[in-house]
């Protein structure tokens, strides 16, 4: 099994004709993701050429992508100025899962979009996230396909390349994954650690979950409590930003220690107090996962 995306995923790509959108659509198709539609307003009626000669229809609206091509998932590669609008359009179209890769969306736009998406009962992953990959089944977003392999580990992370680093090390050690989820580096995200944990918690094949957090906010602290109260399998953790100074944004819009809140220390402590062993460096994640699986 897997969470969020699998063999049943029928994907519409919003912004398929853009530079990033077209590049990553080919990557997703090469990985085996079923891309059923592209959406670019004004380019409806054209087609997008897949890597093996497939022809993907392009529509003007998400509504058409759902009605005519049967999309049930969308991914957003639309520029920041229009991304919140694209997310809300996707929520209105009836897809139940939306992945927003776009970085740099104004936070006030996202405050409105999150409320809108919640009201329509859709799940949003991101924004400012690398997306999600269920090894051997489907990938939606930009996570490189060659670093993953099927197996029993679930991965949840706020970061992109740090996730790749950790996942590549897991794969090299023979520890495959059910699904790797990048929840995003923005302060307001649609799917947080607890949401992803809940999904993994009802996935029969996930035997251990890796939580890769970073400074800023209290999402990891809440996840730690949730794990100790609800999770019936082990989790291990890593937190980036132990050397980050307070009050400075570390690349991600959400990676900032405000006052004395959101430090790596506080998050690591919350993990440890709730029975989640914490890796001191990325290489130790593999060791902790091996230990968790051998118990």
């Amino acid at each position: 099994m897997a969470i969020f995306v699998d063999d049943n995923t029928r994907l519409a790509v919003q912004g398929i004709t853009g530079r990033d959108g077209s590049f990553h659509t080919r990557q997703m198709m090469e990985y085996g993701t079923r891309v059923v539609a592209g959406v670019t307003p004004g380019k409806g009626g054209q087609t997008f050429d897949g890597p093996s000669g497939e022809s993907v229809p392009i529509f003007n609206t998400m509504d058409e992508a759902v009605r005519e091509a049967g999309a049930n998932t969308s991914v957003v590669y639309v520029p920041p100025a229009f991304a919140a609008g694209a997310i809300m359009e996707a929520a209105d179209s009836g897809v139940d899962f939306i992945v927003a890769v776009t970085e740099g969306i104004p936070v006030l736009d996202m405050a409105r979009a999150h409320a809108f998406v919640r009201d329509r009962g859709a799940r949003l992953l991101g924004p400012n996230c690398p997306g999600v990959i269920s090894p051997g089944k489907a990938k939606v977003g930009i996570i490189p396909g060659q670093i993953v392999t099927p197996g029993p580990v679930g991965v949840i992370s706020r970061s992109g390349t740090l996730t790749y680093e950790a996942v590549a090390q897991l794969t090299a050690a023979g520890l495959g994954q059910t699904t790797c989820v990048g929840i995003g580096g923005d302060p307001l995200i649609g799917t947080n650690f607890v949401d992803a944990l809940e999904a993994f918690g009802s996935d029969g094949e996930t035997e251990v979950i890796v939580l890769i957090g970073e400074i800023g906010g209290t999402d990891e602290q809440e996840a730690a409590v949730w794990v100790s109260e609800n999770l019936d399998r082990p989790a291990v953790g890593f937190i980036a930003g132990q050397t980050a100074p307070p009050g400075r944004r570390m690349g991600h819009a959400g990676a900032i220690i405000s006052g004395s809140s959101g430090t790596a220390e506080e998050k690591m402590k919350a993990f440890e107090e709730n029975g989640i062993p914490v890796a001191k460096r990325p290489a130790d994640i593999v060791v902790l996962v091996q230990e968790a699986l051998s118990v």
Partner: protein, 378 residues
């Protein structure tokens, strides 16, 4: 992006918030001239992107124009939390009857603009939230409807029992929400909001942080950026579309991805070293970006060794290697450079780097440990 108090006050005034007059001076003479113009006692306030200005001696009451000049002399050029004061705001002193706090920020948990008000003004709101949370009234604004009149009044009625004052405060709270959204802010604060003996409610301080992601569509706000308040390296980083934060150590770091960049800094510390910076070079192999990154890192005289940590996922390692080779050929770099590359086409990349005479690695631990060993004292 932070804006100065006097700039935040301009934005607040434009939204209709009653803010006493005030002008900035960059010389003591100008401060004296402004004080004379206002007559009576004025306040001379350091304009710098830092809290704790009062404690640092950057806010002074001046009963006479001469004293305004003397205070300006002392404050201009002063360092507050490492930032030099280039300007002071001169503003008439007010008769303060009561002080309260009004602030709004984007709250991560409620995912919405969230107001906090307290009748305990002129204080550190974070501290009050810890020590006396009952003294704070909170309101989550639904961003789709904005601040509703009864909500603004509900907040204001916490601050004042007198309905005439509460009515004024309620209008100010609604105006603050308008200023917050129209400026594209992530935080706006009036601390303190005062009432005077004459029964007027006014904002005598103003704080505003702008969401960087708004600047592309708010050119008039973007113009408020004070380049003199920002180190050269940060300006250069922004222009090159890199994220850079200077730290105090001596191991220069250049990494693709924010999370991996933080983890690299932490690993430097793990091996007994101190990172000189956070730098996220992004997903590009563009040599121009590598040049900018190297210029920024080497502008810090503490840097003794430069460490690249690149995970090639979608970006191909050989592209990045070529970018690094091209960049280092175009500028003269003194500190030794260690490079770690892993991912797509890493063997090819290692060959390119070896041919160009670089020490190249594939393990993150190995390269960080080696970099730390190359610094003084290790």
């Amino acid at each position: 992006m932070n804006v100065h108090e006097y700039q935040a006050k301009e934005i607040f005034r434009a939204a209709g918030i009653p803010v006493p007059p005030g002008e900035v001076a960059d010389t003591p003479e100008r401060a004296e001239e402004l004080a004379r113009g206002y007559g009576g006692t004025v306040v001379v306030k350091a304009q710098v992107h830092s809290g704790g200005r009062g404690k640092a001696g950057g806010v002074k009451l001046a009963p006479s124009p001469e004293e305004a000049r003397q205070h300006a002399e002392a404050i201009l050029g002063m360092e507050i939390n490492g930032l030099t004061v280039n300007r002071v705001l001169v503003t008439p002193a007010e008769d303060i009857a009561t002080e309260s706090y009004v602030g709004v920020l984007i709250d991560r948990k409620t995912q919405a603009p969230t107001f906090m008000v307290s009748a305990e003004g002129g204080i550190d709101i974070e501290e009050v939230a810890h020590t006396n949370p009952d003294a704070i009234r909170k309101l989550v604004v639904d961003p789709r409807y904005g601040m509703l009149p009864h909500q603004a009044y509900w907040l204001a009625s916490t601050l004042y029992d007198d309905p005439a004052l509460a009515k004024q405060a309620s209008r100010i709270i609604a105006q603050l929400y308008d200023a917050f959204t129209s400026a594209g802010a992530s935080m706006a604060e009036i601390n303190p909001l005062i009432s005077t003996d004459a029964g007027e409610v006014k904002a005598i301080d103003a704080k505003l942080s702008i969401d960087d992601n708004e600047l592309f569509r708010k050119p008039s706000i973007a113009e408020y950026r004070d380049l003199s308040a920002e180190p050269w390296a940060e300006t250069r980083a922004r222009e090159a579309d890199l994220s850079y934060v200077k730290l105090d150590g001596n191991v220069g770091c250049c990494v693709n991805g924010a999370g991996l960049a933080m983890a690299t800094m932490d690993l430097v510390k793990f091996y007994g070293g101190e990172p000189a910076n956070f730098l996220d070079i992004g997903g590009s192999s563009n040599p121009d970006k590598v040049v900018a990154a190297l210029e920024i890192i080497t502008s810090d005289p503490n840097v003794e060794v430069i460490l690249f940590n690149i995970f090639g996922g979608i970006t191909r390692c050989d592209d990045v290697a070529n970018g690094i080779v091209a960049a280092t050929q175009s500028i003269d770099i003194k500190p030794p450079i260690l490079i770690r590359l892993t991912g797509t086409n890493e063997e090819l990349a290692l060959q390119i780097l070896a041919d160009a005479g670089f020490s190249a690695f594939t393990s993150m631990d190995e390269v960080v440990e080696r970099a730390v060993q190359m610094t003084e004292g290790n």
